[in-house]
């Protein structure tokens, strides 16, 4: 499913999108993805683990390490995604070297063949993304760009013009990880980013109350990662608690 179709659908229902991130290969990914979707996740962002994740904080770093230790790799990743059988958009989040090494064209084709319709690469700024962008466009896959509190001026304009799928607004300076306080800079970024394209805010969101605040401030979606990964790391009633947290957050987005 294309990301834009999902946002169109949510718009008619007047709902914000819950975008859930987990790292593939950390735990029973198929079961985890279904639990998130049963809890109301609208889009699932599946991390493809890389050995040197510079944009990630300790929670997701640890998840990536567990996934790599468990043997996750790009071949297995695409195999697994192919078998998922879900009707929400799937997005791959990974670092550029894994894409580069596989070959840009092959990577995007693997995405398409396995049902992935979006790509997020946190260490690939628009300056370096031309070639990957062309393969994505040719294959009906969205290349999703990040916008940081420090993104301004011409660069912001350029990203707004290029971005497809949704715009990934980083709520604050820093790496991924749950935080209690994210409000201030988020509102500022949301006000500054003027576009018709859907805006989703990520980095630090872990509760329904935070998510509701962000939707009220003008976002069309929230991205929640570390809070889900914490549950997976605990190993306790994982599917049940993932579903419950997804439900809690999703119910605050309506």
């Amino acid at each position: 499913m294309r990301i834009s179709d999902k946002f169109d659908e949510l718009k008619t229902k007047n709902e914000g999108a819950l975008i859930a991130y987990v790292c593939a290969g950390d735990g029973d990914t198929t079961r985890i993805v279904h639990a998130l979707i049963n809890g109301g996740a609208d889009i699932v962002e599946l991390g493809l683990p890389f050995s040197d994740p510079i944009a990630d904080g300790p929670t997701i770093q640890a998840s990536i390490e567990r996934a790599l230790d468990a043997g996750m790799n790009p071949d297995r990743y695409f195999e697994m995604v192919k078998g998922l059988d879900v009707d929400v958009p799937l997005v791959v989040m990974t670092y550029y070297n894994l894409i580069f090494k596989r070959g840009l064209e092959r990577f995007v084709k693997d995405c398409k063949d396995s049902g992935i319709t979006g790509v997020i690469v946190p260490d690939l700024p628009p300056e370096e993304s031309g070639e990957l962008g062309r393969y994505c466009e040719g294959n009906g896959v969205d290349l999703i760009f990040l916008i940081a509190p420090t993104t301004t001026g011409d660069r912001l304009e350029d990203i707004l013009e290029r971005g497809t799928g949704f715009l990934y607004l980083v709520s604050r300076l820093g790496v991924t990880g749950a935080r209690a306080d994210i409000a201030g800079s988020t509102k500022e970024v949301l006000d500054r980013v003027k576009t018709d394209k859907p805006k989703a805010v990520g980095f630090g969101i872990s509760s329904g109350a935070q998510a509701a605040e962000i939707i009220k401030s003008g976002a069309q979606g929230v991205i929640v990662g570390s809070a889900f990964v914490d549950i997976i790391a605990s190993g306790q009633d994982v599917a049940g608690r993932l579903k419950a947290l997804a439900l809690e957050i999703k119910s605050s987005l309506g």
Binding site: F50, S51, D52, P53, I54, A55, G57, P58, Q61, E65, L68, N73, P74, D75, Y96, N97, L98, I99, F100, K101, R102, P122, D123, L124, P125, P126, E127, E128, G130, F145, L146, I147, A148, P149, T150, T151, T152, D154, R155, E157, D158, V170, L173, G174, V175
Partner: protein
């Protein structure tokens, strides 16, 4: 379209960093452009290099070594730079630049602790608070440098993720920079990372090569036939080579760490020779040759010299290797130890284990005639920091 690619050496280099950092690398590029030719900045840097760092360093004719190998061997004595390695050339330059740019905090990564120590020196001297990320494994094998940094008021932060060495320290420093980009300068220690770092660090280290050129003309009346430098990230190598790039008759040897063998296991290489056997990829913001598995996961590297123990190499060196201007080579842990021993005994100079890899290449190649008649070896640092390692290996 407003956005353009920047900072490439051929197809290598670039700016593969998180969006949060893009404005920071652009600001740095801008700041560097503004100040590098600023008379006041240049004068101040010259002053520090001379009176604080102790430049120029001698180009020393190693008489007994020359006799043994039957060619004229000169050592560029970067071991005599304050702190004991070439690293201070770069840290003084960058710390001063950070000050001119109004940054009030320095962070750095360190492997051997040499760059961390040099950053601590520059930070203390210029009065800028400094924090250094260092792999927990390196902290154990380079304890003295940890104490030195702490004595100078620098906070040393142990990195326990990944392989707990230099690459992980860089990851952690990048994460810090992402979080504190507005007031912090990331003082990277080699010609690696996103543009403009490989250029900035090369320029600050080129003082080595510029001096060599002047000194060898004075002593020999001609350029050397070859120059040898050890290569981790590649800053002492490119700093020595750079002024000689147009002089194509001068052979340039970049000697990497051959470690305990040129093979790799599943997760780790037994060496650090990314220029010799690495494959093209993107690491720490730059496209270059890196040690990686068939999927693109970064392999841990190995060297007895902590400062060479890195899975990547500067993009400009990769470019120069690709074009054939420099020759990548490697020497093993054992060969480096033998060279360490030899220089200590024959010349009364205890070299850093990193620099010992360059010295070992002399022993390896002198017989073949490949080096010509006059060779300059960059002695990038002194070996005091390595005594424990060497003792453990039973060389002494």
């Amino acid at each position: 379209m407003n956005i353009k690619q920047k900072g490439k050496f051929g197809r290598f280099g670039g700016q593969f960093v998180p969006e949060v950092l893009m404005p920071a690398v652009k600001e740095l590029e801008q700041g560097y452009k503004q100040f590098r030719d600023d008379p006041e900045f240049k004068q101040e840097l010259d002053y520090y290099l001379k009176d604080f760092a102790g430049r120029p360093t001698p180009l020393y004719h190693a008489r007994r070594l020359s006799e043994k190998y039957g060619i004229t061997v000169y050592l560029k004595r970067e071991d005599l730079v304050h702190g004991g390695a070439h690293k201070l050339n770069n840290t003084l330059g960058q710390a001063l630049l950070a000050k001119y740019m109004g940054k009030c905090r320095l962070i750095a990564e360190t492997g051997a602790g040499q760059h961390g120590t040099a950053t601590a020196m520059a930070g203390a001297n210029l009065g800028i608070p400094t924090e250094v990320y260092m792999g927990a494994k390196d902290i154990r094998r380079q304890r003295m440098n940890v104490y030195r940094m702490e004595l100078m008021g620098t906070k040393v932060i142990p990195v326990t993720s990944g392989s707990q060495t230099l690459k992980d320290a860089i990851n952690e420093a990048l994460r810090d920079w992402v979080s504190n980009v507005e007031d912090t300068h990331y003082l990277i220690g080699s010609v690696v990372g996103p543009h403009p770092y490989p250029t900035i660090v090369r320029d600050f280290q080129s003082v080595i090569g510029n001096e060599v050129k002047h000194q060898i003309m004075e002593k020999e009346g001609r350029l050397p036939d070859s120059i040898i430098a050890c290569t981790g990230g590649g800053s002492n190598a490119i700093g020595t080579f750079y002024p000689f790039i147009p002089d194509t008759e001068v052979k340039l040897f970049a000697v990497e760490a051959g470690g305990s063998g040129m093979e790799s296991t599943d997760k780790a290489a037994l060496h650090s020779a990314s220029l010799c056997v690495g494959e093209e990829g993107v690491l720490h913001g730059a496209r270059t040759r890196i040690l990686q598995d068939p999927y693109g996961q970064i392999l841990e590297s190995h060297s007895i010299a902590a400062g060479l123990d890195y899975s990547g190499v500067g993009p400009e060196l990769t470019y120069l290797a690709e074009t054939g201007r420099i020759k990548p080579a490697n020497t093993s842990d054992d060969e480096a130890l033998a060279a360490f021993d030899e220089l200590s005994r024959m010349e009364g100079i205890i070299p850093a284990l990193e620099s010992s890899h360059a010295l070992a290449y002399l022993a390896k190649a002198a017989g073949s005639g490949e080096l010509g008649e006059i060779v300059v070896i960059n002695l990038s640092g002194r070996g005091d920091k390595d005594l424990e390692t060497v003792l453990e290996k039973g060389v002494m």
